[in-house]
Symmetry: C2
Subunit: 181 residues, 2 copies
């Protein structure tokens, strides 16, 4: 079976939900996956084309009233199989997360403490802001009365974001002390 890249599988996965067009795929990503996955139109539309070419999806143009036509995609059996096969496989390896702050800190340590401190303090602020965003989203989700399965998942991803962000903030505090010594 042909191998595809992560982006293709992501789109394949989204097509199992109610999102059937390039535009709504982008919307779903920006609303629900944005904390850990982003895709631009420049990837979405060519990928959808590929899916049809490879027989993983079919395309239907639906005419709407008051809105432009939309191309709706639907997974074929082959598409569903390809997705399933990917889902069942554990990830190959944890990717290396590039961290610009650590990079600056390394070279900055050869310069002045002041700048290193500034870099870490700024990073801490950004992380704190992100945490606040997560907490805000969490409240919004929890205030909705809907008891869907999706809600459970959103909370799980938010939890991931919260935990790693908090860990980052704590590292900042600790590092600031360590630099000041």
């Amino acid at each position: 079976m042909t191998k595809y890249n992560h982006t293709t599988y992501a789109i394949l996965g989204i097509l199992t939900t109610d999102c059937r067009s390039g535009y709504s795929i982008k919307q779903l990503i920006d609303q629900s996956l944005t904390h850990f996955w982003k895709i631009s139109y420049g990837q979405i539309y060519p990928t959808l084309k590929l899916l049809v070419e490879d027989g993983l999806a079919t395309i239907t143009t639906s005419v709407q009233q008051g809105k432009p036509d939309r191309n709706e995609y639907e997974l074929t059996e082959k598409g569903k199989q390809t997705l399933r096969q990917w889902l069942e496989q554990p990830i190959e390896q944890i990717p290396v997360e590039r961290n610009e702050v650590l990079l600056k800190l390394f070279f900055g340590s050869h310069q002045s403490k002041q700048h290193s401190i500034q870099i870490v303090e700024d990073y801490k602020q950004k992380l704190e802001a992100r945490l606040q965003t997560y907490l805000g989203i969490e409240q919004t989700i929890k205030s909705y009365p809907t008891q869907q399965e999706d809600v459970k998942f959103w909370l799980i991803t938010l939890d991931y974001g919260k935990r790693t962000t908090v860990a980052g903030i704590e590292w900042c505090s600790h590092t600031l002390e360590s630099i000041r010594d």
Copy 2:
């Protein structure tokens, strides 16, 4: 002043240390920065060329006995300034860390619990293995009697790795419970 990409600044930074050739830059990265920054030869050599073209570094070929010639690069004043200016700037934004596990979990939740559990358990194992690696490196570093500034930095980056990894492991445990319910 011209803007360069992160990789270029990383190399600029490494040139402030004892590493002066493409080969030794690669070595330094693979030994010290590998947990949060990777660069391949395919980037290093063209970038070094660019640095010379832009007057940020000078090149000298040094003849060695019993070893091939090596091209040694040295930062010019302009190069040092460019680096300093980058170092002093706080990072623009925290990049989105792509997480394949969260992605699989999202689509997996529409399928069977069993697979979701497997994915998370596998991820947990990988994180635990990574944590062990970090702890091993930490011991190695600490056992060296050298009291360099670099050692302090290595411990700081390791600390970052440890904290975020532990946070990830805890998330796995929590998520596994949550899925099983």
